[in-house]
């Protein structure tokens, strides 16, 4: 394959507020037409990173490259990047049409071209009837679409989205996630998306960048991030998981809860303390405790719709298990786990 083209590159990007490093030496390469999500808890530096790319915050150190050229000294109004703001920031003194037309009017395009492009964008967003409406009279979902239309009509090379679905209810969120994804595919623009919602990140992204306390924890496809978290933080943040302190005896052999388990991980060395992740849905419950690798007692059962969430306690710890079968409290059960469902991670202090 040919050498991949990066549209945005962050090099040692650092930013402090009041002496606290919010973003600490971040390095990241973003490909053209990629849907990249910066994911992390609030205060992890994801929004600050986005704002530096947009030009609203100046980095203390490090470089931002846009198509290989240094972007740092370029003011936001000269960057070929547009932003969908968290609270949309629609201009309250303009109607929907004028909001969307703003960027084109600034560029002093001919009147009929502006009209044509805005109309087209409004049609694409299902907003053609709302052109003359005042922005305050729109619902949250409609305002959100206006904000996206206002950014996309300028045909930017990169679209920055700062938790754009945060203010919407769950059902609308799910719909908009799919709409946004379709849109990104059809317009072929690089999306850099910020969210704290791990499910949203996994659903939409080509690449997920997990951040915590100003550092990038892991970069990878949603599958990688979910299945092969590199550390406790990522495992804990992405979905529910059982994180177990264990000892890697040798390649493909890991010991915890007083017994040796087969696994597929290699290269950790011998007799090394490690963390093991087992997703709740990867533990299979068997009624006969003797037939399970791990034995325990059910201590709590919660119905979650598709599955039951059970807590099963043994002498070492408590396991969270998701199963479509229900085992009442106080039942003695056994649990089995497949070797490839045991994910071994290097032990490292976080948080």
């Amino acid at each position: 394959m040919a050498k991949e083209k990066y549209i945005i590159e962050l090099r040692n990007l650092t930013k402090s507020f009041d002496g606290v490093k919010v973003v600490d030496s971040i390095n990241l390469k973003i490909k053209e037409n990629e849907f990249v999500t910066l994911l992390g808890p609030s205060g992890c530096g994801k929004t600050t990173t986005l704002r530096m790319i947009g030009g609203f915050e100046e980095p203390d150190e490090g470089e931002i490259l846009f198509e290989g050229k240094l972007l740092n000294p370029v003011p936001p109004y000269k960057r070929n990047i547009n932003t969908v703001f968290q609270r949309y920031a629609l201009f309250p003194h303009m109607n929907v049409f004028e909001n969307v037309a703003f960027g084109l009017r600034i560029k002093k395009l001919p009147k009929d071209e502006i009209e044509e492009r805005v109309e087209k964008m409004l049609r694409m967003m299902d907003l053609e009837k709302f052109g003359k409406r005042h922005v305050d009279s729109l619902s949250g979902g409609q305002q959100q679409r206006v904000a996206i239309a206002r950014a996309l009509v300028n045909e930017p090379k990169v679209l920055l989205l700062d938790e754009p679905l945060g203010a919407l209810d769950l059902k609308l969120r799910k719909e908009m996630q799919i709409e946004l994804l379709d849109m990104q595919r059809s317009v072929g623009i690089t999306f850099i998306y910020v969210t704290h919602d791990q499910e949203e990140a996994l659903t939409m992204s080509d690449t997920v960048v997990v951040m915590n306390e100003g550092h990038i924890q892991q970069v990878g496809t949603p599958e990688d991030i979910y299945n092969e978290p590199t550390n406790r933080f990522v495992a804990d943040f992405i979905g529910e998981s059982n994180i177990i302190e264990a000892t890697m005896l040798e390649d493909r052999k890991v010991m915890f809860d007083g017994r040796v388990f087969d696994c597929v991980d290699t290269g950790f060395g011998t007799n090394v303390p490690v963390d093991v992740v087992i997703r709740p849905e990867d533990l299979q419950i068997v009624t006969d405790p003797e037939k399970g690798m791990i034995r325990g007692t059910v201590t709590s059962v919660v119905f979650k719709g598709v599955h039951y969430e059970m807590l099963i306690e043994n002498e070492y710890r408590e396991y969270m298990v998701h199963s479509t079968l229900m085992f009442p409290e106080e039942t003695q059960v056994g649990m089995n786990v497949q070797p490839f469902d045991i994910h071994v991670m290097k032990k490292e202090g976080y948080g």
């Binding site: 109004y77 201009f91 703003f102 950014a151």
Partner: protein, 282 residues
Amino acid sequence: MKRMRILAYPYSVWMAIFIVVPLILVFLYSFTEGDIRNLAQLKFSTRSYERVSEPIYLKVIVNSFILATLSTLFCLALGYPVAMIVARANPKVRSMLLMFLIVPMWMNFLLRTYAWMSILSPNGFLNRLLEFFGLPRLEIMPGKTAVLLGMIYNFLPFMILPIYTVLSKIDKQYLEAASDLGANKTRTFFKIILPLSIPGVVSGITMVFLPAVSTFVISGLLGGGKTPLIGDLIEQQFMWEGNWHFGSSLSIILMVMILISMAIMSRIDRDGKQDENGHAKA
């Protein structure tokens, strides 16, 4: 909520006694002639209104409006940039600047005007300063220029404060969004900041124009009686001439003119919003 209404009764009574009744009396006097102490024998007459239309008095009214309009325009031109500087300053500097604006208002209005007299008078501070540098003397007091300066000085804070309040409430995200969409600072100002600050400008204009058009102390002290304003004329009729009928008609005329100006201003303010609301119903 309903119970709280009772708290408004004292004010209603106050309003009735000290606002409604006097207004009715002023209206009554303006359309009558005769002994003002004996309401029963007052006769209907439009003579005081006819007197208002005499050239000498019309000139006073026109003068008042020109001076009030000028001082409002100067206050706007000086006040808007100041309001912007204050709104953009960091919190510490901002509260200091606001103090500078507000502290002079703690001093009596008359005292401040006397201070201007001692600066502007023929042998005042300004002329001595000019002399010191070998520059020609300025004969601006008594005169219109001195009155205008006094008005601008006294009413400037009333322009700055409402504009500052509106400017400081404009969400920074709008400015970032404008910049994101390609607008530089100048265009962001004209397309976003200025239109969003119109309500502040309108209330600033109202708060300066109304006292400016009816002022009488400033013109008396700094104008030396050479350029009487409508306020001076009214004072004269009530205090010295004892012609309450003429004074009342002048007051009514002033009131009507102020009401008209206010109606125009609120129309401008509403138009700004109606542009969107009107469309919203479409």
